[in-house]
Subunit: 547 residues, 2 copies
């Protein structure tokens, strides 16, 4: 019952964990081991006042990757968490560092010891570790990628047409993050079709332009490609693109459908373009560069999220530490040419989604409580909008507000707040917050669908109400929301293709996905036997960016 | 008479020195000290088998910057010279390294001890130094640049019109590299107008689109801006953009004339965009990234050269180690947006020039004996052309060949060869070598002018004939060239505005610039009292890329 300790963590700790390690990365101690390719240490590593053996140093590196690097960065320069290089840590006593590691801080640092994620010895080890110079993680270039690349089903051996008797565009991929598995479910029949191994701690699923292929990206940088036309859907290719990754997408513009895939890495700080049918790595482009505002060099600007533009043969890459949105033109990949447009946005970029026209990309800059609006037609920043504490839209949600017309909304990690922004460029309210809805708990995700009048919010990061799904009525924006109470923690919502069902994860070792009728809010079905289910991605809605 | 030792160096050593440290960087021991901002060492620096004191380590760092980094790179990963990180150097004995440093190698390494540039103790120190991990040179971001930025003459205090009684477009800037000085000479009267202090070891001069401003870039990263309208011309602004630099240019496209300047650095590997009238640094963009062919991360892709496109608001940046030509669109700098197009070319990119239409940029990739042709209209690589051993065009030379029409030519560092390439895209010979002329000595520069029928080549890197200027006749391409013999080493040629005089540097501590009549090849004038004059840049020809 070690996992139960998670439920006792106070909200700010969870916030930290979620932001740092990616979507719902609060992994219990019995998860798979962290990836191995972290820089080897010397026989003994000594600093100003501490010495670790090689074995201790290696153990600390693994713990650091698993618990610390998401927030503090592989090189410890800081992002969501502060800079913890020796320059900073040596100003504190060893005892103070041990205390912080064990008990946490008001600023959001989890109490790793107190909350049961590290033993007391481990917190002491980590206090020493952060007084030593950070080891440089290894590079990971084409040679390493090619070695890891596997095509499990050659293109010639794959089906030439979709399943005749299944509504495959209504398939769902469900992430079972902690066991490294993607479960494919038929959204019509609710049958589990296949369970496909993925990388460590899958962060997101995306689809090819046709929807036929589904792609997973593991936190260990392993990309997996699954064929929805196969019966049952299967793993057709995989490649490890780096040491630490969060994002994947595909080329979706006319004439480039299903042609390329792209992974954005945390370490090394780069993105990798691959063949869309085999994941063969083709090109690596670095992101190391300068902060948009202060023009300081940053050694690890991480690719926080990627979406495919609907208006150009481009991907929108969001570089966390530098606050730069990179428009990457892939139309000349045949001769190896890449064009990057660097747009100054805000720090630290995280995730985001399209407005309903799919012209404007709304991306969270969580260190500045901002949503940055990027116009992908004019290819510029429209506005930085202050919303609330640490916006976390996931993809956000679009609907028509009875008073303000077209709006898009985000929830927040740092407060119980839905910020609703006008996305009609012709409105006098364009690109400003037109409504705010209160939530009982800080939230991870918000979701609606063009055919729905409900807006669903989870309250995952709330110690009392994490098992509650909050449902607002688009047409009664001033009315109190409904609350649906479950027996387990609720996280992440996704609609089916028809837009008449909403699927909700109950986040537990004995986890389930509950299917609600969107009109009646009654339970229609329940998929059981899922290990810590988190994100769910409907093929049709993911392919078309419907949310 | 220490400098005389230079004359005894064999050709391959000089080749190495020239390539490594930039144009004619064979500095005698009494030159100004190297820049100071190199990473400080710890009290004692120890490696596998050697230990240096802090003082020894610092001294070695300075020598390394001055003599070694140009070829081997600040991080010692290798470029023109091989990789000399401890991974490699520890495979040789200390004695072997000392021998190489003292005596040089057949591969092109100078005999630093034998040739009198390092004492025996210094070669021993350097042998130890390269067995230690390379110190990371410091970063240099906006904060450091802003501190170094000085406007000596505010815009409001500058003349509003050019000198009434001088043909200022026929001014020449003459680089006196070793004393850090630019001498401005009136090309009509041959008067020395002013002597302006520049950075350490100026590598090149460029002008603004109007020609009014002349810019120098020092090897120490200091950019200097001189006003040709002032009487006499004066230093109006300066800024240090990095630790080690080679290239500078300005925005020359319609509507952006005189608006921006740009410096390309060796360290840090980045480029810096500045205001064109004050050198105020505005934006820094990194170049760290992946090799174009093997997709390996390179920690210091150096900006080898920059030219301003005539067909778009773009600069053409040539990244040495990655073999990438970067087209940098500056048209949206007002909102901080930069668009970079990465074109795969060849390694290691060095310098180059335009064809006569100014559409095609011809750039040397010296490690692969290649000229890469970049089409700046279609924004792609046209062809990689094999020419000879280590092409070094400077800007190259354009003329009309009686048989092949439009051609462009380069000389070579590694052999006495002029390679003449057809640049007429409609010719059946387009982008191939149509003629080869033999030279007695390996050469640094070639020059002609649209009004001239002569093609001038120096033979600087030749121990016997470095004092000879070779003159070919465009209209008698099979005839033996004329030779003009001087009493001192000849380097670098430049035409006057009218195109009827060619100016030649005699490279010596008691140096001179000799002005020849282009028709008669007779001496017309001589500018004396110049300390080691190297490059000379005519305002009109530099502004319009006439060569």
């Amino acid at each position: 019952m070690k996992y139960q300790s998670v439920l006792k963590i106070h909200a700010s700790s969870l916030l930290y964990i979620v932001l740092g390690a990616g979507l719902l990365s609060c992994t219990p101690p019995n998860t798979p081991p962290p990836p191995k390719n972290i820089a080897p240490a010397a026989d003994v590593v000594s600093g100003v006042d501490v010495t670790l053996t090689k074995a201790e140093f290696k153990k600390a590196q693994h713990i650091y990757f698993d618990r610390c690097s998401g927030c503090h960065g592989a090189l410890r320069k800081g992002a969501t968490g502060p800079n913890i290089t020796p320059e900073k840590t040596l100003k504190k006593t060893l005892a103070k560092l041990e205390k912080i590691l064990y008990e946490g801080t008001e600023g959001g640092m989890p109490g790793w010891g107190k909350d049961g994620f590290m033993t007391e010895d481990e917190t002491k080890l980590m206090a020493k570790f952060v007084r030593l110079e950070p080891p440089q993680p290894p590079e990971w270039g084409m040679k390493e990628m090619k070695k890891s690349w596997k095509v499990h089903v050659p293109v010639a051996d794959r089906p030439v047409s979709p399943p005749a008797d299944r509504n495959w565009e209504n398939y769902f991929g469900i992430v079972e993050r902690d066991i490294g598995q993607i479960t494919i479910v038929d959204g019509d029949t609710k049958e589990v079709l296949s369970r496909i191994p993925s990388g460590f701690a899958t962060h997101i699923l995306r689809t090819s332009a046709s929807g036929r292929y589904m792609f997973a990206i593991g936190r260990d940088g392993k990309a997996s490609m699954m064929d929805m036309w196969a019966e049952p859907p299967n793993l057709v290719a995989e490649v490890r693109t780096g040491i630490d990754a969060r994002s994947i997408d595909t080329s979706k513009f006319k004439d480039f459908e299903d042609k390329y895939a792209v992974v954005g890495n945390y370490w090394p700080p780069h993105y990798v373009i691959m063949k869309g049918d085999t994941l063969e790595p083709l090109k690596v482009m670095g992101t190391r560069g300068y902060t948009y505002d202060t023009n300081e060099y940053h050694p690890e600007p991480r690719v926080a999220s990627i979406v495919a533009s609907h208006h150009a043969p481009e991907w929108v890459l969001n570089l966390k530490e530098t606050g730069v949105v990179l428009l990457v033109d892939y139309s000349r990949m045949e001769d190896g040419t890449i064009t990057e447009t660097s747009i100054n946005a805000e720090r630290f970029l995280h995730d985001g989604g399209w407005d309903s026209t799919k012209r404007y990309f709304m991306v969270a800059a969580n260190a500045r409580d901002t949503i940055s609006v990027i116009d992908t037609v004019e290819r510029k920043l429209v506005k930085n909008i202050i919303t609330g504490t640490k916006p976390h839209p996931g993809r956000g949600a679009n609907w028509i507000d009875p008073e303000f017309g077209r709006v898009w909304a985000t929830v927040h990690l740092g407060e119980g707040l839905v910020s609703i922004i006008s996305t009609d460029p012709k409105s006098e309210h364009a690109w400003s917050v037109v409504r705010e809805w209160e939530l009982d708990g800080n939230s991870l995700f918000i979701k609606t669908h063009p055919k729905s009048t409900n807006v669903y919010c989870d309250n995952t990061i709330n110690k009392n109400k994490s098992n509650v799904l909050t449902v607002f009525d688009i047409n009664k924006p001033d009315a109190a929301p409904k609350e649906i109470v479950f027996k387990k923690k609720v996280v992440h919502m996704e609609f089916n293709k028809a837009g008449d069902e909403v699927w909700i994860s109950l986040w537990d070792k004995a986890g389930e996905v509950v299917v609600l009728d969107d009109k009646t809010l009654k339970e229609k079905a329940r998929i059981t036997g899922l290990d810590m289910p988190t994100g769910k991605f409907n093929v049709y809605n993911t392919t078309r960016d419907i949310y």
